[in-house]
Structures are given as structure tokens and as C-alpha cells.
């Protein structure tokens, strides 16, 4: 029944539209004008609409910037993240300035030069000087952006990892596991063919480096201490995304990828700043299957003392596997 009603309504709307077009065409025939000819009146209306839309559009943009600002991620909680944030605000300001100049200019020209039968356009086919200027100016600005960007990129990607604590992040559909390298700070070898029973990461237990490895489902980090995350994937490509630390790296089956960073805020400090619900979260940011939207792991940043207590409670992988 509803379907029939909908069909009738659609039919009536189409019939209405046809009649509107018919009437307008007949009217123009009576008045001996062409309904589709763009008149001065049209140009006037459309030009003014462009002027109006300038205010509406820019107003909408500013409204969003004011009212949705609190949704944005808080400032970075890592050393390299703060440098990235610096580059981000530089680039964002540059973009906003150009946007707020060019958009109104474009729409203002549309309004200002709206056509009139009595007007004639100015024949102006090129001006080499002008064109050279607006080639060189963007080139200079972009050179700055590129140099600043590459410096930041090099700093972010090449930190000193000699003192970093090594932790493996292992991705599979649809959860994360972490492996601490233990007191030797070296991960034992792993092979996907060794995945069996409780040895879900395929760690080679014959490798002596694996003896002190610890496998956990929640990552704890020490404030101001550098970590080197090594990523593996069991099945498809995942992407380890830690938005608060400005960290992201794909986890690719068949290879090991890595990312090093130093957290600068503890979870407790962030809770004070951002509210009680705050947690550092690792999300999956590469489409990986049906439950992609809910693949997460908690990261906790704490003081050395808190960390020591926590790590002491964790059993080594060897222990877990042999204890039964």
C-alpha cells in the first residue's frame, strides 16, 4: 500500500514539473521571448546570489571552526608529534589565508562582472609579467612548505633508537597483541608457521632471545622514554594508528615495519586535561574486514614506578606456554 502511494506521489510530482515547464514555455511564447535566454535580470539575480553565497559559505566555515573545534584531537603527546603539530599549524594557517582571499575574490568577480547587454568585456588575452609573478610567488611559498615539511619528516622518521625499548605490535583480524622484548631488549625470532595453540604470535621458543619476551593485550609505556614499535600482520594489511601520538604505520603480512616515538604525557595527565574518559587508543586505519571499525587496543603512559609494578606482574611467554 505504501509503495503504491509513493508511486502515485512520484508520478504527481513529475506531472507537476512537466506542467511548470509547459506553462513557462507557453508564457514566453506569448511574450515573444526565449525562456532559456539569459537576460540581464538573470545575470543580476545570479550575480547577487554569488555575493550572498560568499557570506553563507564563509560563515558556515567559520561556524564549523568555532563550534566543532573541541572535537579536534588535543595537542600531540609525543616529542616528534609536537614538531608535526608546528608544521600543521603553519600549513593550516597558510591554507586558511589563501582560502579566505581566493574564495571571496572569485565570488566577488562573479558578482562584480555580472553581464549586461550594454557592457562589453575587456579583451585581455595575456600578460607575461603578471603570469610570471603568479608562477614565482607560489613557487617561493611552496619551496618553504617543502623544506619545512621535509625537515619535519626527517626528524619524525629518523629518531635515535639506540636507547629505545623495543615492543612488537601484532595485528590480525580483528585485534591487536603486543610483545615486549624483555630485559635483553631484543625480540625473539618469529615465524607464522609456528603459530599454534597459545603461541598466537608464532614466536620461536628455541631462540634464546625469546625467553624473556612478554605477550600482553594492553601496552604500557613510560613517560619520556623512547619506544620502537615493530609491526607485523598475520593476515591482511592493517594500519596501526595512534592519533594522540601522531603515529601511524601499516602492518603488512610478510614484512616488518617500524615507528619510533617518545610519549610526553601520562594517561593521568591527559585525563586531567581532557576529562576522565580519556585513553590513548590504538586503532586500525586500513580496511581489514567486517569488524575493521572495532579493532582497538589501549595504550597507557605512566611513570617509571607505575610501569615497574605493572611489568613485574606480567608472565613471560615461555612461562605461560609451559605452565599449562
Amino acid at each position: 500500500m505504501t509503495n503504491i502511494l509513493i508511486a502515485i506521489i512520484v508520478f504527481l510530482i513529475i506531472a507537476l514539473l512537466v506542467q511548470i515547464l509547459r506553462v513557462s514555455e507557453l508564457l514566453s511564447e506569448i511574450n515573444n521571448t526565449d525562456v532559456n535566454e539569459v537576460t540581464d535580470e538573470d545575470n543580476n539575480t545570479q550575480g547577487k546570489l554569488y555575493l550572498a553565497i560568499t557570506f553563507i559559505f564563509l560563515g558556515f566555515v567559520i561556524w564549523q571552526m568555532v563550534y566543532w573545534n573541541h572535537f579536534l584531537l588535543p595537542g600531540a603527546s609525543s616529542v616528534h608529534g609536537e614538531i608535526i603539530d608546528g608544521l600543521m599549524s603553519f600549513t593550516m594557517n597558510l591554507i586558511l589565508v589563501v582560502f579566505f582571499i581566493l574564495t571571496p575574490l572569485l565570488f566577488y568577480y562573479a558578482f562584480k562582472y555580472r553581464g549586461k547587454k550594454t557592457n562589453t568585456a575587456y579583451f585581455y588575452s595575456h600578460n607575461n609579467k603578471l603570469e610570471i609573478i603568479w608562477t614565482i610567488v607560489p613557487t617561493i611559498v611552496l619551496s618553504c612548505v617543502i623544506v619545512y615539511g621535509l625537515q619535519t619528516w626527517n626528524k619524525a622518521m629518523n629518531p635515535d633508537t639506540s636507547q629505545s625499548k623495543v615492543i612488537e605490535i601484532y595485528a590480525k583480524q580483528f585485534d591487536w597483541t603486543a610483545r615486549y622484548s624483555g630485559s635483553d631488549n631484543q625480540l625473539g625470532k618469529a615465524n607464522y608457521k609456528l603459530v599454534k595453540g597459545r603461541n598466537q604470535l608464532g614466536v620461536d621458543l628455541n631462540d634464546e632471545k625469546s625467553e624473556d619476551d612478554i605477550v600482553v593485550r594492553e601496552v604500557h609505556l613510560v613517560k619520556d622514554q623512547s619506544v620502537l614499535l615493530k609491526f607485523r600482520s598475520r593476515d591482511v594489511i592493517h594500519s596501526a594508528y595512534l592519533p594522540h601520538f601522531r603515529v601511524q604505520m601499516n602492518c603488512v603480512p610478510g614484512m616488518v615495519t617500524q615507528f619510533a616515538f617518545t610519549p610526553t604525557q601520562t594517561t593521568a595527565e591527559m585525563k586531567e586535561q581532557e576529562g576522565e574518559d580519556f585513553e590513548f587508543i590504538l586503532l586500525c586505519n586500513k580496511i581489514c574486514g567486517v569488524l575493521h571499525y572495532n579493532m582497538q587496543m589501549k595504550f597507557v603512559v605512566e611513570t617509571q614506578e607505575e610501569y615497574d609494578v605493572w611489568i613485574a606482574e606480567q608472565k613471560t611467554l615461555k612461562n605461560t606456554l609451559t605452565l599449562k
Partner: protein, 582 residues
């Protein structure tokens, strides 16, 4: 001498070799696919704004994929994937290039038809076959492809990883292979025709910018699409014949796969070697169309013709050496990342030149606001807005945190999606009188434009904020993370505009089909334009001009030229005595 011949219904409307008819076939197929792609987006937008809520329409359209009216997560991914595939390839590649390259090349360069009418016909029918296979994939038991339109393996290679990677993905790959064959046949034809069949006097320096843009697009297509074909063939081998090009060290659903030594990153390189030029395959024709529309309706020559051509060539060249910016986070060598950042940001320079030249063209013009012109100006706006955020995404250091978030979705929908679709609308409104000999209704065009313009920014601008809040794309719902709880408000705004925008498009579709049959008859040259297509008779004949092909004596942009009798001087008018060419 005309090449017009007797036509039966089949040779006129179905297996036609007339470029004008083939263009219309591409246009209507593209529009049909656009509606399907748009409906898909409306369905998943409903879910995003109202997670877990039941909608009768979802169950009605999707059946078992929306039990109780709630969208199933795997169907969500399938809809996202198919929306992307359809819009990128079917609408903005075939629909845009197929329509305007076919329609405009012979008419604007002064040729009777394409170099090979038969290959041209074949190009459409390969595309048609691809369309049938793609639509077929919507109805298979395990659902259509759902690994994202970029179909990264292993997700796309393993049916155990996601249901859509079963029969759905096989059909997707078959369809895209057919699509590429069709696209290559078309592109080769475009290049050969433009280089060889220009009428007397139509030197390269006198080509309309539309043709320049289409020529470069075709070159991009010929050089990059075969790489995707190779990538797809290797993926088919991995899926069906046990090879390991992209697969290594995988356990899926507890099953240990024997594949070793392959790399999914290889696929990403091959994919984006097409994928990035593809962005410009979509964009360049739109920029070409708009260069024409803006010049005609400003009643001014396009400002800096040579710089415009130079910028097009620079963009086309650079587009081949920037693909790695889609892969900054794959773990590739950071030095390589630096190189791709450098080349990527360079593209901003020719893009900036184009924007400034468009502004200079409008300056002191006598702007005629036809619906086409409204869309053309809006295109410049989206090109500015979307292009600027590219400075963030192209910068590898900043990409770390916005990669694969909604910021990217906002960026490419504005700079590529909206820009290209505005170019397409501008083209349809502008050349409709030439295509069908009738006029589209102007006032309906105005309503369509303002509705689209407002809704489109309403949809895509807020997405930047979602991205800066850290929300990843392709999430079925953001309710699994407390940190994203507030974002449902933004999602509601987006969905509201998306649905409103979809309804506005119905006005266009109505106007289009009504005008084909009932629109008022068009004049010979309704926009008072200089290019050659408007010298051809309104009545469609195969061969375009009944007598001799007109000769060309000047560039196409002599608008409001001092000393001329009218504010336009068609290209086939000889220079007056003492007149200098622009």
C-alpha cells in the same frame, strides 16, 4: 562531400559508429551508473548518521544484507567499495571522458568522425559489457567486492578474509579488465584523431583548451591503465591459480597458506601508478570543459592560453611521479617518502597558475550566467578549496596523522569528485543544444545548481573536522570508540545534506530527459561561441558538416575583440585585413 549514409534503427542507436551517438551512449550509461552510485552513498550515509537504527527502505532494497532494516557491516563495506568504483571509473572516467572526448574531438577540430569509428564503437561496447558484469556482481550470493575501491590484497585476494572477496571480487576484476580494454581503445582513437584529423588551419596553437585537456587525458590513460590491467591480472593469478605475487606469510581463519615471497606493497605500487594519473584523467577533462565555458560566458578570451596549456602539460607529467604519496605509511623508505613529497607539492604550482588564470579571465568580463557558467565558477571554488588541503595530505610528515582519515575523504571528494562532476554538469548544460538540438530549461538549471552547490559543501566540508578528530574512513560506525562519541552530530549534518543533495539531482535528471523530447528547439549557436561545433547543422548527420569542412583562421578565443562586428568571432572567419591574430 558528406559521409552521411542511410541508417537503420540498429546502426543509428545501438551499434552506431557516429561519434556523437557514442558520446550520448556514454553519457546516458554514465548517468545511470551515477544514480546507482549516489543511491549507494545515500544508504550508507543513513547508517553513519544513525548507527544501529532500523530503516524499512534498507531492508526493502538490500534484503538479507539489512536484516531488520539495519545495514550489515559487510554490506556497508561493499556499498563503500562499489560507490567508489562506480564514481571513479564509470562516471568520472568513462562518463566524463567518454562523453566529451567523443562528442567534442571531431566537432571541435573539424573532422567527420573519429579516426576509427569501428574501434570507437567497440570501446563503448566493452564499457557496456564491463557495466553489465559490474552490476551482475551486485547480485551474487556472497555480495559484491568489499575491499575498498583500491582492492588491496591480501584482503581482496582471500575469500576467507571478507565475503565480498569471493565471486564478487572475481566479477569486479573481470569487469575492470573489460573496462580497461574499452578505455584504451577509446584513448588511442582520441590521440590519433586529434593529431591527424585536424581541419585546415587548426594548428595545435589554435586548439580549444577542451581538446588539449582531452589529448593529455588520453595520453595519461594509454600510459597508466595497462599497469592496472597487469596488476589485476596478477591478482587474478593469486586468487585463482595459486601464485604468490602479493601474498606471503598468511594465516587466515586458522588456515596456514602456503604462499611465500610475495608483497602486497607491490600491488599498491602498481595500483597507484595508475591510481594517481587516474585522478588527473578525471580532473583534466573537467578543467578543459570549464576553460571553454568560462571564456564563452565571460565573453573574454581565456587568460594566458599558453600558460594554461603549459600548466596542463606540467600537471600531466608530474602526475606520473607522485603515486607514492598514497603510500607514505606503508613502511617504504623515508627517503622515498621525501622524494614523493617534493614532487607532489610541485603540482600546486601549475594548479595555482590555472586558478589565477581563471580569475583573470573573469576579471572585467561580461559574465552571462548560464547554468553551465554557474557550475564552471563553482568548479574553480572547489578546485581552490580541495586543492589547498592537498598541501596537508601531500606533505608526508602531516600525512602521518591524517592518512586514511575522513580528512582524505573530504579532500578528494571536493578536489576530484565535485570538481569533475561540476565540470561534467557544465559540459552537459553547455553542449546539450548541440547534442539534442533542444534547450534544457534554464530556471530548473539554476535551482539544480544552487541546491547542488550548497548541499555538496554541506556534505564534504565537515568531513575535514571528522578527520582532524582522528576518525578513520571506512568505519561502519564510530560508536565503538568513546573518543568519537560527539562526532555523530557532524555525521547527522553530513547525512542531511547528502540526502537533500540527492533529491536535488532528480531535478537535473528530469530536466535532461524532458528536454531531449520536449525542450524548445535550439538555435544554431545559442551561446554565441567561437568553436567549430556550432557551425555544424543542428540536425544530426553522420559526417558533421553537409558540405566541406570549415577551415580555421584564428584561435577560438576572440571574444569582445576590439574592431570586430560582434562580441564573438568564430574560428572559421578569416582575419580581416590588417587584423592581427590575438
Amino acid at each position: 562531400m558528406s559521409e552521411h549514409h542511410k541508417e537503420t534503427f540498429i546502426t543509428k542507436y545501438i551499434f552506431s559508429q557516429d561519434h556523437k551517438m557514442i558520446a550520448k551512449q556514454f553519457l546516458i550509461t554514465g548517468m545511470f551508473m551515477a544514480v546507482i552510485g549516489m543511491i549507494m552513498s545515500a544508504l550508507f550515509r543513513l547508517q553513519l548518521a544513525n548507527p544501529g537504527q532500523s530503516f524499512a527502505i534498507l531492508e526493502m532494497l538490500l534484503g538479507k544484507w539489512a536484516p531488520g532494516g539495519v545495514l550489515d557491516p559487510s554490506m556497508y563495506l561493499a556499498l563503500v567499495t562499489m560507490h567508489g568504483t562506480i564514481l571513479v571509473f564509470w562516471v568520472l572516467t568513462a562518463g566524463l571522458s567518454g562523453t566529451f572526448a567523443n562528442f567534442l574531438i571531431p566537432l571541435q577540430i573539424g573532422a567527420r568522425d573519429m579516426a576509427s569509428g569501428f574501434l570507437n564503437m567497440l570501446s563503448y561496447w566493452f564499457f557496456f559489457l564491463a557495466t553489465v558484469v559490474l552490476l551482475w556482481s551486485l547480485f551474487v550470493e556472497t555480495g559484491p567486492a568489499s575491499a575498498g575501491w583500491t582492492i588491496y590484497p591480501p584482503l581482496s585476494a582471500l575469500p576467507q578474509a571478507i565475503p565480498g572477496s569471493g565471486a564478487g571480487m572475481t566479477l569486479w576484476l573481470t569487469s575492470i579488465a573489460l573496462f580497461i580494454v574499452g578505455s584504451l581503445l577509446g584513448s588511442l582513437n582520441y590521440i590519433v584523431t586529434i593529431l591527424n584529423l585536424r581541419t585546415k588551419g587548426m594548428s595545435m596553437q589554435r586548439l580549444p583548451l577542451t581538446i588539449w585537456a582531452i589529448l593529455l587525458t588520453a595520453i595519461l590513460g594509454v600510459l597508466s591503465f595497462p599497469v592496472l590491467l597487469a596488476a589485476a591480472l596478477l591478482l587474478i593469478m593469486d586468487r585463482s591459480f595459486g601464485t604468490s605475487f602479493y601474498l606471503s606469510d598468511i594465516i587466515i581463519n586458522g588456515e596456514v597458506l602456503h604462499n611465500a615471497g610475495g608483497s602486497p606493497i607491490l600491488f599498491e605500487h602498481l595500483f597507484w601508478f595508475l591510481g594517481h594519473p587516474e585522478v588527473y584523467i578525471i580532473l583534466l577533462p573537467a578543467l578543459g570543459i570549464v576553460s571553454e565555458v568560462i571564456a564563452v560566458n565571460s565573453r573574454k578570451p581565456i587568460f594566458g592560453y599558453k600558460a594554461m596549456v603549459g600548466a596542463l602539460i606540467a600537471i600531466a607529467f608530474l602526475s606520473f611521479i607522485v603515486w607514492g604519496h598514497h603510500m607514505f605509511m606503508t613502511g617504504m623508505n623515508p627517503f622515498l617518502g621525501s622524494v614523493f613529497t617534493f614532487t607532489t607539492l610541485l603540482i600546486a604550482i601549475p594548479s595555482a597558475i590555472k586558478v589565477f588564470n581563471y580569475l583573470a579571465t573573469l576579471w572585467k568580463g561580461n559574465i552571462q550566467f548560464t547554468p553551465a557558467m554557474l557550475f564552471a565558477i563553482a568548479l574553480v571554488s572547489t578546485f581552490i578549496t580541495g586543492g589547498l588541503t592537498g598541501l596537508i595530505l601531500g606533505d608526508s610528515a602531516l600525512d602521518i596523522n591524517v592518512h586514511d582519515t575522513y580528512f582524505v575523504v573530504g579532500h578528494f571528494h571536493i578536489v576530484m569528485g565535485l570538481t569533475a562532476i561540476y565540470g561534467m554538469f557544465a559540459g552537459v548544460y553547455h553542449w546539450f543544444p548541440k547534442m539534442y538540438g533542444r534547450m534544457m530549461n534554464k530556471n530548473f538549471g539554476y535551482i539544480h545548481f544552487w541546491g547542488t552547490f550548497i548541499c555538496a559543501y554541506g556534505v564534504f566540508f565537515p568531513m575535514h573536522f571528522l578527520g582532524l578528530a582522528g576518525l578513520p574512513r571506512r568505519y561502519y560506525t564510530n560508536s565503538a570508540f568513546p573518543m568519537f562519541d560527539g562526532l555523530t552530530d557532524i555525521n547527522s549534518v553530513i547525512t542531511f545534506f547528502a540526502l537533500a543533495g540527492a533529491i536535488v539531482q532528480m531535478i537535473f535528471i528530469f530536466n535532461f530527459f524532458y528536454s531531449i523530447f520536449k525542450g524548445p528547439r535550439a538555435k544554431q549557436n545559442p551561446w554565441r561561441s567561437n568553436t567549430l561545433e556550432w557551425t555544424a547543422p543542428i540536425e544530426r548527420i553522420h559526417g558533421n558538416w553537409p558540405g566541406e569542412i570549415p577551415h580555421v583562421y584564428r584561435w577560438p578565443y576572440d571574444y569582445s575583440k576590439p574592431g570586430a562586428d560582434e562580441d564573438f568571432v568564430p574560428q572559421n572567419q578569416p582575419l580581416k585585413e590588417g587584423e592581427v591574430e590575438h
